[in-house]
Symmetry: C2
Subunit: 512 residues, 2 copies
């Protein structure tokens, strides 16, 4: 069926281009940094951490429970396997990581929206995983598939977002064993940006690969990366068999995975930054090495989702200086492994898209850019420690992502940028508003918000003295009203619909 | 009188210590960076900008209007003076800047609160200059002396604020020619942190020096820096005679000045970052060189207050990526001059202490830390493009300043920080909450907010679902209730009161 659908597209670039002419919304190219990274760790500190990570792997080891296949792979590779514990001889994991590519292209169905992950690039993807949503009109509530579709639409229309993401919210009204089908269908049909696959069961990862076969053609999928999916490590040092099963499906099909500890410092890792970085490195070395044991050359991203804890309440905290330290440090460790790096995001602990949310988010977004992150999941929409996808915060954060694009451009120093003629023309006591240099440069000189308020006080007051959340709520409404679905070959739409219907009919609903 | 007052204090350290035992609120030491600066400009770009700045000084020149004394000084130093235009031969300004100290101590009346300005230090001072105040209860209104006193009290009680600042708001209910007396009196008596002097007339600068003579003793003032005051340059390239007169008073009395362009890019400087940096450098070179012509060795700070403009409305914008570029670049230029650097702050364009305000402020605070700023004026409380001092935002920003302290600590890498024993103890699948390393480190491991909310959702909802502004409003109220004036020798209080009364009686009120 997949190949049949593929053939009806005509197979040529012209046909693919025709599909997407109907409506197109502007999307910025993924960020290509023209600024240095912020290097917080000294060479000496890096070497200590790298050495300690090897000690962890060799002497303490990592667990691969309920996974005889993984244990066999490790044994064959030369590790010391006792029960579910895998001890990896010094240097072996790092050596195995060398077959992972330093960067890869993730293809979108609209090739203009392909992204490069690695090197100096930064790809921005929305929030992932919250069971709740919040908006001003409806408050906080369990997320539904209808909410999910709205977030995919907002992501499609967000200029500074390069990626449609994955579980932009958890559609709790659809059966657990079937919601991945609806989620993928939404990403594939409501957006033309790249997306993520399911990881909650190996079979759902296989469904994701198969649906991509329908969308892109099976051969294309085998030869190209069309998904980047999120494989979490159960810190400390435990590799869940379900996640490893999903990783196996993706690696064998040439699809990319983020291999990422999920750490609340002080709970799943030591309370110190250096200790946490050591554990993060040991865990990602083991996980990425394992991906290369499954298939050498499989594209992977070294991930670090790390935050601190409020030791009074036990609540995770976000946008904190300790999280920044870890994010900067892990970026250096990833670069020394020559691997793409995932971290940071619109993290906040606040219940509302208020000042707390924005301080915490801005802290995290800024450190994400400067730490050399290549793939930023959760780049917009995260609220309440990741329990909530917020509609208003989604567009607020998405607007702020524009600042990262402009920051990353660095400082131009050509003759036009030097502006010596303008300075001569204006001279002491003059002004630059009308001068030729200003006229010919102002349009592209400054980042421009599509959301924030700069109006005179009186105008702002006359218009209702609206705060950012209120402006964002109006923007959400307008974007959803303006939304137009990107064109798709009807045969592919039909084939995707049929795939979802067939798979849904194959088993009863489960909400477990 | 000043010396008499001084003598009654007993002259010894014991007496000074006794004065301040009554009540003391914790204040963090000024930040001493243990992290690198973010260096955005290449060596080549820096050299181009430095060369172009010399061209500006030599070929275009700068204006010192209505200031024959300044023109005479420049002529004598070897500049080409035509009318009010001063053209400075290549290299002369940079050479003159060499007598300015690379760092200096500003003394507070409580010596524990002395600050070092320069090198790796970062001193945080509150908002300066707004004619309006805002709080939740009273909305936006003209600032009064009562508001001013409240801000000084909040600054005194803010743990992460090292400096009491200057015009924390403009007390519009006091005559223009007398309000500096009340403002200084408030800083001197309601706080024991270092403060700023008046610059609105040379005579008011002299009053500031004289009042410091009462507070510290005249001899102490002549031998030590007890004020850091703000001298703005009228960009482009114009040095106001009133400001230069105040600078002269301060330099001759060994008191420090920030010499700072005030630039809205596209209006007072070219619309390009490199062009603006060039002009900033030329202006500060000329201003600082002039301070050293007045008195070689006078302590000065190279300032850069630069923001961009919304080219649609003409409104200044804050926390933008272009402002960040300039702040990073100007920091590099200052370090190459071996001078202390002032920039950044809690800048925002928002009318309310909402998410916009917090995004913009966090962007600016983060870049301020990483750009190597030594003196950050406006570090808390700024709202609405600087038109408003916000009570709630003051405490919100002041809380965020804690993140800068922790970020600046860098990453410890000693044996305790490496935490290898903890990692061994816990092992794969365990958790760190109860382990010895966590117990002995958690109290100082993580920055802790005194304001932000991390409570469980249900608790937060039961308590009224309060946003950050509401929490901040309660905190303002509590701080003002808890406030206790730092102890002062009654003879000094009396002498300060008498000084203010005498000076106020000497001339009629003026509101011009």
């Amino acid at each position: 069926m997949a190949e049949a659908a593929r053939r009806t597209r005509g197979g040529g670039g012209a046909a693919r281009r025709a599909e997407r002419t109907a409506v197109s919304f502007e999307t910025a190219k993924y960020i290509e940094r023209n600024i240095p990274n912020f290097e917080i760790l000294t060479e000496e500190a890096l070497e200590i951490i790298e050495n300690n990570a090897e000690i962890i792997l060799e002497e303490i080891g990592v667990n691969f429970p309920d996974n005889p296949r993984a244990l066999a792979r490790w044994r064959e590779a030369g590790a010391d396997v006792q029960g579910e514990r895998v001890r990896i001889p010094r240097g072996l994991a790092r050596e195995l990581c060398k077959t992972a590519p330093s960067s890869y292209v993730q293809h979108a169905r609209n090739p203009d929206r392909n992204v490069v992950v690695g090197g100096k690039s930064l790809v921005l993807a929305p929030v992932y995983g919250p069971p709740f949503v919040r908006d001003m009109a409806g408050g906080r509530r369990y997320a539904t598939m209808e909410d999910f579709r709205k977030f995919v639409k907002l992501g499609y229309m967000s200029k500074w977002l390069h990626h449609s993401g994955g579980t932009v919210c958890e559609p709790t009204d659809v059966a657990v064993n079937k919601r991945h089908l609806d989620m993928l269908h939404a990403h594939m049909t409501l957006s033309d940006k790249p997306f993520m696959g399911s990881v909650t069961e190996p079979s759902r990862a296989q469904d994701s690969v198969d649906m991509c076969g329908v969308l892109f053609g099976e051969k294309f999928v085998q030869e190209n990366t069309v998904m980047t999916s999120l494989i979490n490590i159960n810190s400390p040092m435990t590799f869940d068999d379900v996640m490893m099963g999903a990783l196996e499906v993706y690696a064998l099909n040439n699809q990319a995975c983020i291999i990422s500890p999920f750490i609340v410092g002080g709970a799943m890792a030591p309370v110190s930054v250096a200790g946490t970085l050591t554990q993060v490195l040991a865990e990602t070395l083991a996980g990425i090495a394992y991906s290369q044991l499954i298939k050498p050359g499989a594209p992977v991203i070294m991930g670090a989702f790390v935050t601190s804890i409020d030791m009074n309440s036990g609540a995770p905290t976000f946008g904190t200086p300790e999280a920044a330290h870890i994010t900067y440090g892990a970026g250096q460790l990833a670069r020394r492994l020559n691997l793409p790096y995932r971290s940071a995001g619109s993290f906040c602990g606040s219940k509302l898209p208020d000042a707390q949310a924005a301080y915490e988010t801005a802290n995290s977004l800024n450190m994400g850019l400067l730490s050399g992150v290549n793939f930023m999941l959760h780049a917009c929409g995260w609220l309440e420690g990741g329990l909530v996808s917020s509609f208003e915060k989604f567009v607020m954060d998405a607007d702020q992502l524009g600042t990262l694009h402009h920051l990353a451009r660095g400082i131009e120093i050509d003759e036009n940028a030097q502006a010596m003629d303008a300075i001569r023309e204006v001279g002491p006591g003059g002004h630059y508003l009308g001068c030729e240099h200003t006229q010919s440069n102002f349009k592209k000189a400054f980042w421009k918000s599509d959301l924030l308020d700069y109006k005179p006080f009186e105008t702002w007051e006359d218009e209702g003295a609206r705060d950012t959340q209120t402006l964002a709520s109006l923007r959400v409404e307008k974007m959803l009203n303006d939304y137009q679905q990107p064109a798709m070959d009807p045969a592919i739409t039909e084939a995707l619909d049929a795939f979802v219907a067939t798979r849904k009919a194959a088993e009863p609903d489960s909400f477990m």
